[in-house]
Symmetry: C2
Subunit: 154 residues, 2 copies
């Protein structure tokens, strides 16, 4: 990837890179109030879903399957929200969107990881209803990324 593109990705604050596939980067999102929340970002500049090529679309399905499976095994998640919005990019003009997905595991029951209890604060509703964010210490984020990686087979 070009340095310029990597700098732009970095500016977007997707979080910490867990792993990557041929076409996609998988980040642990900054906000972990829903344990295992990730961002999946395309490895090239593109602004909208319909601009993907067939290989990218096809490989994204493998990412979906792997991530849902991994987070179920790792944390017994109940279900998952997937969204590709890109709204915030359009608050500036000209907009500079970069295609990415939000992956938000949802939990009916609280889940414990490394001694911390995570509760899904609005299970059954959009997480956008909750303003508070949970930023974990970097040591906990590293443990979390290593744990997720054990279950991912990309």
């Amino acid at each position: 990837m070009e340095v310029e593109f990597l700098e732009r990705i970095d500016k977007n604050d997707y979080g910490d890179l867990i792993t990557e596939s041929e076409h996609w980067l998988i980040f642990l999102a900054p906000d972990q109030k829903n344990l295992g929340t990730c961002v999946v970002a395309l490895k090239r500049p593109e602004k909208e879903l319909s601009g993907l090529n067939h290989d990218e679309w096809s490989e994204f399905f493998k990412v979906v399957v792997q991530m849902e499976s991994a987070i179920k095994m790792a944390f017994n998640a109940t279900m998952f929200n997937w969204g590709s919005l890109m709204n915030a990019s359009y608050l500036q003009y000209p907009p500079d969107p970069h295609l990415h997905w939000h992956f938000i595991p949802r939990y009916r029951e609280p889940v414990e990881f490394r001694g911390r209890i995570f509760k899904d604060p609005c299970f059954g509703k959009s997480t956008i209803n909750i303003q508070e964010k949970l930023h974990l210490p970097s040591s906990e984020r590293e443990d979390l990324m290593a744990h997720i990686l054990k279950f991912l087979e990309l």
Copy 2:
């Protein structure tokens, strides 16, 4: 499709059927505050994305491309939000989710259709921030569906 499945789809209140592809049903969503908001629902029972088969996934991409193109041509939409959440199904127990996508066109500028002005009330942010819904009279919904259908080539 089985009668039982169709009754369940009907209960989910996805809106009015515009058209269908081999695996997907495309509905004009009940709330039209964002003009052209649709629901794309799978034509068989399935609860999560990773349960799709490759044909369904692959065909969904054609739907994405067609819908983004159609709504750009029909209403000059600026960009689009796509989300597969299924949250509300989990407010009941046992949950009974059915796989579907929300397709929400977003507009930087107001757009006029049949004399009515549609403004995107929170462009650049999630539509979940806006509680109010816009339910159009059925004659306007019919005009809208016919107009969208002119640009869809599924």
